[in-house]
């Protein structure tokens, strides 16, 4: 499990420090899906980036992040390098731009495997084809370039890359935004399958509450750098307690029921 405790993050700006996370605590268990729901600017992405220490230099970080007995914030570069991808991988927001346009998809995924798993390039490419097939892409896509893939295909390729080193934890930042609804449903099902199959812990950040509820085991609602409500999704949905969660659930119910002044 990844245990985040009393985490505070302050970004450095021209006008001084700005608090993005205000002492929040969260557990990300293995074999389950943890969804973090919040509106834009609530600090969801910052939370994910903190876990992999991807925050910009000069950022103040306080608190602790313990990933199965290892202290992430205390890791030196080498340990951190082994932690990233091997134990904890990230699917970035907007997979569209997370591949370099000048290398084939296969080479980029294989590069990760070679670097983090020490496989030969032949073995790595073979594994890459298998990975692509697992996420529903033809193996022949290894030689395709990012611009030759649709948005949904790129998202699948980003997932293939994220699971390429068999991580224990997968962090996903808005993994389905900018995708069509049908593609979104396909990707969501794929993520749920991978969690069940590999026993990974998935921590997914999204602004879409119904989407989060459709696959998560644990739900955390964020607002202004804090987790305002957390627990089992069915209980939160049944009886939201924080005013922000109440508003969120109400506004979605209203839209689904079509009860808007027409």
């Amino acid at each position: 499990m990844i245990r985040v405790q009393s985490l505070s993050v302050d970004y450095r700006t021209n006008e001084g420090y700005v608090a993005a996370l205000k002492g929040l605590s969260l557990d990300i268990p293995k074999k389950e899906v943890t969804a973090i729901v919040g509106e834009s600017g609530s600090g969801k992405s910052t939370l994910l980036y903190s876990v992999l220490r991807l925050l910009p230099p000069g950022t103040k970080v306080k608190g602790s992040i313990i990933a199965e007995a290892s202290d992430v914030l205390a890791m030196n570069y080498e340990k951190l390098n082994r932690f990233r991808w091997n134990r904890c991988a990230l699917i970035l927001q907007g997979a569209m731009s997370s591949f370099t346009p000048v290398l084939s998809i296969g080479n980029q995924i294989a590069e990760t495997i070679i670097h983090h798993r020490g496989l030969s390039s032949r073995e790595a490419l073979l594994k890459t084809s298998e990975l692509l097939e697992r996420v529903g892409l033809p193996a022949a896509f290894v030689s395709r370039y990012p611009h030759e893939l649709s948005g949904g295909q790129k998202q699948r390729a980003a997932i293939a890359m994220a699971i390429s080193c068999d991580p224990d934890f997968l962090l996903a930042d808005e993994p389905t935004t900018a995708l069509d609804v049908i593609t979104q449903a396909e990707i969501t099902v794929l993520l749920a399958e991978l969690v069940a199959e590999k026993g990974m812990g998935l921590c997914m950040v999204t602004h879409d509450l119904p989407l989060a509820l459709s696959l998560c085991h644990n739900l955390a609602v964020m607002k202004e750098g804090e987790i305002v409500e957390a627990g089992r999704p069915e209980i939160i949905l049944e009886k939201p307690r924080h005013p922000h969660t109440v508003e969120l659930v109400e506004s979605i119910r209203k839209l689904e029921e079509g009860s808007i002044a027409k």
Binding site: E39, S40, G41, G151, D180, V181, I182, Q184, A185, E186, T188, V189, A192, H207, D208, L209, P210, L211, L213, S214, L215, L237, E247, L248, V249, S251, I252, R253, K254, L255, E256, G258, S259, I260, A261, K262
Partner: protein, 311 residues
């Protein structure tokens, strides 16, 4: 029935891309009258935005007819076309590309109204723009006076773009995914602001990929796929019991409170059915031989049309 505010008849729009002719709209017809809201539903690439732009004659038609306020846009003079367009408020999809970069939010909203009415005092226009910004939740002094390009988030820019489109009291509102960048708690509010104008007599065409949003906003909806109208009917019916397999796939793929993630009912995209086939055939779970020939859009029950051999 009174004259439709916007009307498309058998509109065909084609683009050239990589030396190939791509048809973005393949003969679509739609009307929207004063006090009505029509939802154009479909995924990216289905032709929703092109249909809005064709309605304003912002792109050349390869076939068919587009009319605003009963006047054929190809028959009228350029000056008249501009006059007709000025009665329309267009909310483009991308709030990053559509707003002037160097002026403040307030000036951005006031600009179209200032251009149009010399008799209205400048002051009055600014007061009204202020009220509109406040209505869209952007009334804070800091926001009103900041430059759109440097200090506002995507969601805020989109609301500036909505206020701007409403500033000159348009008779027709064309809203291209107007809530795409809004947080859940804001989407309903934005919809209410737009529908208030419809209740006061404006016509509106709204594009979305979200059938719930369509049903909340509009009584009537059109489902587009690859530039074809595949179904037309009351939005509530489209959501609950679509006649076309694509409409049903769209409805089932939408996340909904209390529904677990499930594989959407679409087939593996494989076989090429040829250029004459039903556009949805390559992904349709119910395809059969007859789908090699595209089905026409036919009336199946009062107010409901679909283009599918099976329905």
């Amino acid at each position: 029935m009174n004259t439709p505010v916007m009307s498309l008849q058998n509109v065909v729009v084609s683009f050239f891309s990589h030396g190939k002719r791509v048809e973005a709209l393949r003969g679509i017809s739609l009307d929207v009258a004063s006090g009505e809201c029509l939802a154009l539903i479909g995924e990216s690439g289905s032709g929703k935005t092109t249909a809005l732009r064709a309605g304003l004659a912002l792109l050349p038609l390869s076939g068919g007819r587009a009319a605003l306020f009963g006047e054929d846009l190809r028959q009228v003079s350029k000056g008249r076309r501009v006059e007709l367009r000025r009665r329309c408020g267009y909310i483009p999809q991308d709030p990053f590309g559509c707003l002037p970069p160097t002026v403040t939010a307030l000036e951005t909203v006031a600009e179209p109204a200032l251009l149009q009415s010399s008799r209205n005092g400048k002051r009055e226009v600014f007061e009204k723009s202020m009220a509109l910004l406040a209505e869209c939740g952007l009334g804070e002094k800091r926001i009103v006076e900041s430059k759109v390009s440097t200090s506002l988030s995507g969601g805020q820019r989109q609301r500036v773009s909505i206020a701007r489109a409403l500033a000159a009291d348009p008779a027709l509102i064309l809203a291209d995914e107007p809530t795409s960048m809004q947080d859940a708690s804001n989407r309903g509010k934005i919809l209410e602001i737009l529908l208030k104008r419809v209740n006061r007599g404006a016509a509106m065409v709204l594009t979305t990929h979200d059938l719930y949003l369509a049903a909340a906003a509009a009584n009537l909806g059109i489902v587009l796929y690859h530039g074809h109208i595949v179904e037309r009917g009351p939005t509530k019916a489209l959501l609950a019991e679509g006649l076309h397999p694509y409409t049903r796939a769209l409805a089932q793929a939408l996340p909904r409170l209390g529904k677990k993630a499930a594989r959407p009912p679409v087939a593996e995209k494989t076989e090429d059915f040829g250029p004459l086939a039903c556009p949805f055939a390559p992904r349709c779970p119910e395809r059969f031989e007859r789908c090699r020939q595209a089905p026409p859009l036919v009336n199946l029950s009062p107010g409901r049309d679909a283009a599918c051999w099976r329905s």
